[in-house]
C-alpha cells in the first residue's frame, strides 16, 4: 500500500496546449474565419495587382492619349468600331479604364500605407507616451525633458514678441532648473515666487533690448511662464495637454480638416497622404492611450517596475507588444479609411495630380460624363474603391476576432 507523500512523485508537467505564441494562435483563428480569409484574399489580390502592375506592366499616363477611342463602352472582343479590347471601357481621353484602375491601385495603396504610417507614428507615439506617463511616474530625466520642452514652448511666445530667440533657450533652461530645484524641497510659495521673478527677468530684460513696452509685455509673459514652470508638473500634464490637442483636432470635421490641409500644402497625392495622416492622428492617439492605460494596470508592468526595469524597457518590452493587437486592427481598418478619404479628396479634385491614375479622381473626372451615358467610367473606379476598402475592412474585422475577441472598435 502506497503512502501518500508528495515528495515521492516528481512534478508532472502538463503543458496542456501545444507550443505556439499568441500570434500564431491568432493566425490560426484568422485562417479559420472564412470572412476574414475573403478579406485577406481581396487585400492580397489588390496588393498583388497593384504592385505587380506597377513594376511589370509599365504604364506612362503622360503619353496615354487617343482621341479616336474616347468614351468607348466596355467591349470584350475586337470589333470594327472598337479596334482594341477595353474590358472597362475608355475615358474622355481614350485611355483604357481597366489599365488605369489597376495602376490606380498602386496610388491608393501608397496613400493608405503612408497616411496610416503618419497617423500611427505620430498619434501612436503620442498616445503611448501620454498613457505611459499618466500611469507611471516620470523619472528625473524625463521630467527634465518635459520641463525643458515646456519652457521652450511657453517661452517661445515671449521670444517671438521680442524677436530674441535665445530667450526660448533661457526659458527651457528655467524649466530644467525647476526640476533640479524641486529636489531642494523649498516651500511651495517660495518656489513659485522665485521662479516668477526669474521668469520676469528672463522675459523682461531681453525684451528691454527692443523697447520698454516690449520689455514690459515680455516681463509679464515671463512672470506667467515662471509661475507655471515652478510647479511640479509631470506625466498627467503631458497627457492632458496631448489629449486636449487631440480633442481640438477631433472637433474639426475630418473632411474639412483634410481639405484645409491640402489647401495649405498644395494639391497632390503626397500632400493628400499627409492630410489624411494628420486627420487620423487623434484616433490612434486615443486608442494607444487607452490601451496603454489598461495594459499598465496589469501586474506584469508592476512586476517590471519591481525588478527595476527602465522606463524604456517597460515601454517597449511590456507595453508596446501588448497594445499591438488593437493597433494592428485599427491600422487595417485605418488603411480602408485612408483609401476612402483619399478617394474623396480625389473626387473633389484635391488628390493625385493628373494624369496620374487615382480612383477618386477618375470618378470625379468621369462623373460629368454620366449624363451622357458613360456609366462605365464611374462604375469601375467606384467598384475598385469599394472592393479594396471592403477587403481591408473584412480583414480588419477578422483580425479583431482573431487577435482579441473581446475588443471592439
Amino acid at each position: 500500500m502506497a503512502e501518500i507523500n508528495p515528495q515521492d512523485t516528481e512534478i508532472v508537467d502538463f503543458a496542456i496546449r501545444e507550443h505556439r505564441s499568441l500570434w500564431l494562435d491568432a493566425w490560426r483563428r484568422l485562417i479559420a474565419n472564412k470572412i476574414a480569409m475573403l478579406g485577406l484574399f481581396v487585400v492580397a489580390l489588390f496588393i498583388l495587382t497593384a504592385s505587380l502592375s506597377h513594376f511589370f506592366w509599365k504604364y506612362d499616363p503622360k503619353s496615354d492619349l487617343d482621341y479616336s477611342s474616347k468614351l468607348f463602352a466596355p467591349n470584350l472582343v475586337v470589333t470594327e468600331d472598337a479596334p482594341a479590347v477595353h474590358i472597362f471601357g475608355t475615358d474622355k481621353l481614350g485611355r483604357d479604364i481597366f489599365r488605369r484602375v489597376v495602376h490606380g491601385g498602386w496610388n491608393s495603396l501608397r496613400v493608405g500605407l503612408v497616411s496610416v504610417s503618419i497617423s500611427l507614428a505620430i498619434g501612436g507615439l503620442m498616445g503611448l507616451l501620454a498613457g505611459f506617463f499618466e500611469s507611471i511616474d516620470m523619472n528625473f530625466w524625463e521630467r527634465v525633458t518635459l520641463m525643458g520642452l515646456l519652457g521652450l514652448g511657453l517661452g517661445s511666445l515671449s521670444a517671438w514678441i521680442a524677436a530674441q530667440f535665445f530667450q526660448i533657450f533661457l526659458f527651457s533652461g528655467l524649466g530644467i532648473f525647476s526640476v533640479v530645484f524641486q529636489r531642494w524641497k523649498a516651500g511651495k510659495k517660495v518656489r513659485i515666487l522665485a521662479f516668477a521673478v526669474m521668469g520676469m527677468l528672463l522675459g523682461g530684460v531681453s525684451g528691454l533690448l527692443v523697447g520698454p513696452l516690449v520689455g514690459l509685455v515680455c516681463g509679464f509673459l515671463g512672470l506667467g511662464v515662471g509661475m507655471i514652470l515652478a510647479r511640479p508638473l509631470g506625466g498627467k500634464l503631458f497627457s492632458d495637454v496631448t489629449m486636449r490637442i487631440m480633442d481640438v483636432i477631433l472637433s474639426f470635421p475630418s473632411y474639412l480638416l483634410a481639405i484645409a490641409i491640402v489647401a495649405f500644402l498644395g494639391p497632390g497625392l503626397e500632400k493628400g497622404m499627409i492630410a489624411i495622416g494628420v486627420v487620423g492622428i487623434p484616433v490612434y492617439a486615443r486608442l494607444a492611450r487607452s490601451a496603454v492605460l489598461s495594459v499598465s494596470q496589469k501586474e506584469y508592468v508592476l512586476a517590471a517596475q519591481a525588478v527595476g526595469e527602465s522606463h524604456g524597457r517597460i515601454l517597449f518590452k511590456h507595453i508596446v507588444p501588448n497594445i499591438l493587437s488593437p493597433i494592428i486592427v485599427q491600422s487595417t481598418m485605418g488603411l480602408a479609411n485612408a483609401i476612402l478619404s483619399a478617394a474623396a479628396l480625389g473626387f473633389l479634385g484635391l488628390g493625385a495630380i493628373p494624369p496620374e491614375p487615382e480612383w477618386g479622381a477618375m470618378l470625379g473626372d468621369s462623373y460629368k460624363y454620366l449624363s451622357s451615358g458613360a456609366w462605365w467610367a464611374v462604375l469601375f473606379p467606384g467598384l475598385a474603391i469599394m472592393l479594396s476598402v471592403l477587403g481591408f475592412n473584412l480583414l480588419g474585422d477578422g483580425l479583431r476576432d482573431a487577435l482579441d475577441p473581446k475588443m471592439r472598435i
Binding site: K62, K92, K368, S371
Partner: protein
C-alpha cells in the same frame, strides 16, 4: 465679370413685333405651379426656371464682378447704354442718346422720360447723378467702406480725383452732362456695361449696406422686379408689368442653383429647369439628339491660351517656343474638349472683336518639326528641365526661385473650369501628352486651387508653361490686348515676365487714338507681332453653349455674357 445682359432697341422692337404677332390674345396668368406637376397641354408655364452652377454674389451690380450676379441684375436693372443684340456695339437704353463734344471730353446724355423704378420713384437725372457720385466718391455716404467698386475704378481710371469722369452734372430733369479728363475712346462701351446699371436712389438710401443682399434686395427699372433670394438655392424675379419697353410675356424667372454640371443637365432633361449655361461638352451631343432640347450659343468673346514664363532661360529662345507651338494639336484639343462650339484661335482677339487679324497663319501641328526645332535649340534629347533666369520673389518678398535653379519642366493647368476653358484639366492632360510626344517631358503641375493659381500668376510664380484665358468685358480690343501688355519697359510679371517695348508702345498709341480705323490697324499689327514672337500659344475661342427646353423661345444670347430673358416665351 463679363457676361452682361444687353439688348438693343432695334432688337427689342423686332422681337416685340414678332412676339405680338405670334401670340396675340394671351390667357390670363395662371397660378398653376410650373414644373411641379404636368400642366395640361393647353396651359403653358409662366415661370421660366434657369439652372446655374453658382449663386449670385450680390445683386448690386456696381460692386460685383461675377457673371451669375449680372445674370440677375441684368433683368432688374438697366444702364444708360446697352449692347446691340448679338454684338458688342453700344446702343441707347435708359439714355435716349449721348452726344460727345468735338474732342470727346464732354458728353451730353438725354435720358428716357417716363421711366419709373420698381419702387415707384422716377428715373431722372438726379438718379443718374446719384449713382455716378456714389460710385466715384469714396466719401459718398453710399460708397460703403465694406464694398469695392471695382469696375468703376478699372474702367474710369480711379475714384475721387483719379477718376476720368471729373463731373456728372444734372442739366435738367432728363439731361445729364459728363465731363471727362481725357478723351476716352470706349466711353459708350463702358457706359453699356452691366456694372453701370442705374439703381433707385431711394432703395439704396433705404437699404443701406444691405442693398443688393438677400435682405436688401435690388431696385432698378428693368423688365423684372426682384422678389426673393433664397441664398444658395434660388432667386426669384417677377415680370415688371409697367416696363417701359413692354411687359415680358413670362410672369416670373427663377434662377436656381444646381452646382453640379451633370445634375443640372439631368434637371433640364427632367423638365425641372428650362435652361442652363455651360453644359458639359459630352452632354451637348445628347442635347442635340434630344428633340426636347435646343442649343443656343453665346458668340465667343474670349480666348484661352498657353503662356510661357519668360523668366525661364530656355523659353527665352524663340525656337523652343516655336517647338512648343508645333507640338500642340490645337484642332484635337478644341474639337474634343470645347466641342463643336469651340473655335481654334490664332489671335488673341476673337473674330467678333474688331482688330482680329485673319491674315495670321497659324502654326501647324507637327511633332517632328517640334523635335527638330528643339534639337536646333540645343536639346536633342528633349527638354525635361529648365533654368530660372532671375530670382523670383513671392508677395512677401522672399525668394522662391533663385537664378540658375534647375526645375522640372512644368505645365500648370487651371484647377477650375471657366467659360473660356470648359475642361482645363483634361486639356492639360492631353496637352501634356502632346508635348511629351514632341520631346518636352512635361510634368503636369497643380499649383493649388484657383486663388492660389491666380495669386501665383500675379507674382510670376507659374514657372513653366501655364494655361489661362480671358473673357472680354466690353468688346473693345483694348480690353483684351491692352489689359495684358500695355505695361512699360519692365517685364510684366503678371504676364509671365513678358517684355516687349514695341508692343507696349503700339498699344499705348491705340488707346489714345480716337480714330477707330487707325486703332483697328494697330491691333491687327500687334496680333501679327505677337504671333511672330510666339509669345503665347492661343488655343481657342469658346462659343459658350446654352441649352434650353424646346418649349422655350425668344432667348437672345449676348457675347458679353448677358441674357435676354424678357422675350422668352413658352410654346406648346
Amino acid at each position: 465679370m463679363n457676361k452682361k445682359s444687353i439688348y438693343t432697341i432695334v432688337g427689342l422692337i423686332v422681337i416685340l413685333t414678332m412676339v405680338l404677332t405670334a401670340c396675340a390674345p394671351k390667357t390670363p396668368a395662371v397660378t398653376q405651379v410650373p414644373g411641379a406637376t404636368d400642366a395640361p397641354a393647353a396651359e403653358l408655364p409662366t415661370t421660366f426656371i434657369f439652372g446655374r452652377g453658382a449663386d449670385s454674389v450680390q445683386l448690386d451690380p456696381a460692386i460685383v464682378t461675377d457673371g451669375e450676379s449680372f445674370r440677375v441684375t441684368g433683368q432688374v436693372l438697366e444702364p444708360l447704354y446697352e449692347y446691340e443684340l448679338g454684338s458688342t456695339v453700344p446702343v441707347p437704353a435708359l439714355a435716349e442718346e449721348c452726344v460727345p463734344n468735338a474732342d470727346a471730353t464732354v458728353w451730353n446724355c438725354k435720358l428716357r422720360e417716363g421711366v419709373k423704378f420698381h419702387d415707384g420713384t422716377d428715373f431722372n437725372a438726379d438718379a443718374v447723378v446719384f449713382n455716378f457720385e456714389r460710385w466715384r466718391f469714396t466719401t459718398d455716404p453710399y460708397h460703403f467702406a465694406s464694398q469695392v467698386f471695382e469696375y468703376y475704378e478699372a474702367m474710369f481710371g480711379g475714384f475721387d480725383d483719379a477718376s476720368m469722369i471729373t463731373e456728372v452734372k444734372k442739366v435738367d430733369d432728363y439731361n445729364v452732362q459728363f465731363t471727362l479728363s481725357d478723351p476716352l475712346a470706349p466711353f459708350l462701351a463702358n457706359l453699356a456695361m452691366d456694372m453701370f446699371a442705374i439703381s433707385s436712389p431711394a432703395a439704396i438710401e433705404a437699404a443701406g449696406e444691405a442693398y443688393g443682399t438677400p435682405t436688401g434686395g435690388v431696385v432698378g427699372t428693368g423688365p423684372f422686379k426682384f422678389v426673393s433670394w433664397e441664398e444658395g438655392n434660388q432667386i426669384i424675379v417677377d415680370a415688371n408689368a409697367d416696363y417701359w419697353g413692354g411687359a415680358p410675356t413670362i410672369k416670373q424667372i427663377v434662377f436656381r442653383v444646381i452646382p453640379d454640371d451633370s445634375a443640372r443637365f439631368l434637371a433640364l432633361k427632367a423638365g425641372d429647369i428650362h435652361g442652363l449655361e455651360q453644359a458639359v461638352v459630352e452632354d451637348l451631343a445628347s442635347a442635340e439628339a434630344d428633340p426636347n432640347l435646343t442649343i443656343i450659343t453665346r458668340p465667343a468673346l474670349n480666348t484661352s491660351y498657353l503662356a510661357f514664363n519668360y523668366n525661364i532661360l530656355e523659353f527665352q529662345d524663340i525656337r523652343v517656343r516655336e517647338a512648343v507651338a508645333h507640338a500642340i494639336d490645337k484642332e484635337g484639343l478644341i474639337s474634343n474638349f470645347f466641342g463643336k462650339y469651340g473655335e481654334v484661335a490664332k489671335n488673341l482677339l476673337p473674330p467678333l472683336v474688331w482688330g482680329h487679324n485673319d491674315a495670321v497663319v497659324d502654326w501647324t501641328f507637327d511633332p517632328a518639326l517640334s523635335k527638330q526645332l528643339l534639337s536646333d535649340a540645343g536639346f536633342p534629347d528633349g527638354l525635361s528641365e529648365v533654368t530660372i533666369a532671375e530670382d523670383i520673389l513671392n508677395a512677401d518678398g522672399a525668394v522662391v526661385y533663385k537664378a540658375g535653379d534647375k526645375i522640372p519642366l512644368r505645365l500648370y493647368y487651371m484647377p477650375v473650369t471657366r467659360f473660356y476653358f470648359p475642361a482645363a484639366k483634361e486639356v492639360g492632360e492631353a496637352m501634356a501628352a502632346n508635348l511629351t510626344a514632341a520631346g518636352f517631358n512635361v510634368e503636369l503641375y497643380l499649383e493649388g486651387d484657383w486663388p492660389t493659381y491666380l495669386g501665383s500668376r500675379r507674382n510670376g510664380l507659374l514657372v513653366g508653361l501655364y494655361l489661362l484665358g480671358w473673357g472680354g468685358d466690353n468688346g473693345d480690343p483694348d480690353n483684351f490686348t491692352g489689359y495684358f501688355f500695355s505695361g512699360g519697359a519692365e517685364p510684366i510679371k503678371r504676364e509671365g515676365w513678358y517684355q516687349n517695348a514695341e508692343l507696349a508702345d503700339l498699344l499705348r498709341q491705340a488707346l489714345v487714338n480716337p480714330d477707330r480705323a487707325a486703332r483697328e490697324a494697330i491691333y491687327q499689327q500687334t496680333e501679327q507681332l505677337m504671333h511672330d514672337d510666339v509669345m503665347r500659344i492661343w488655343l481657342g475661342h469658346n462659343n459658350t453653349p446654352l441649352i434650353f427646353s424646346s418649349k422655350v423661345t425668344g432667348y437672345g444670347a449676348q457675347p458679353v455674357g448677358a441674357d435676354y430673358f424678357e422675350f422668352i416665351e413658352f410654346v406648346p
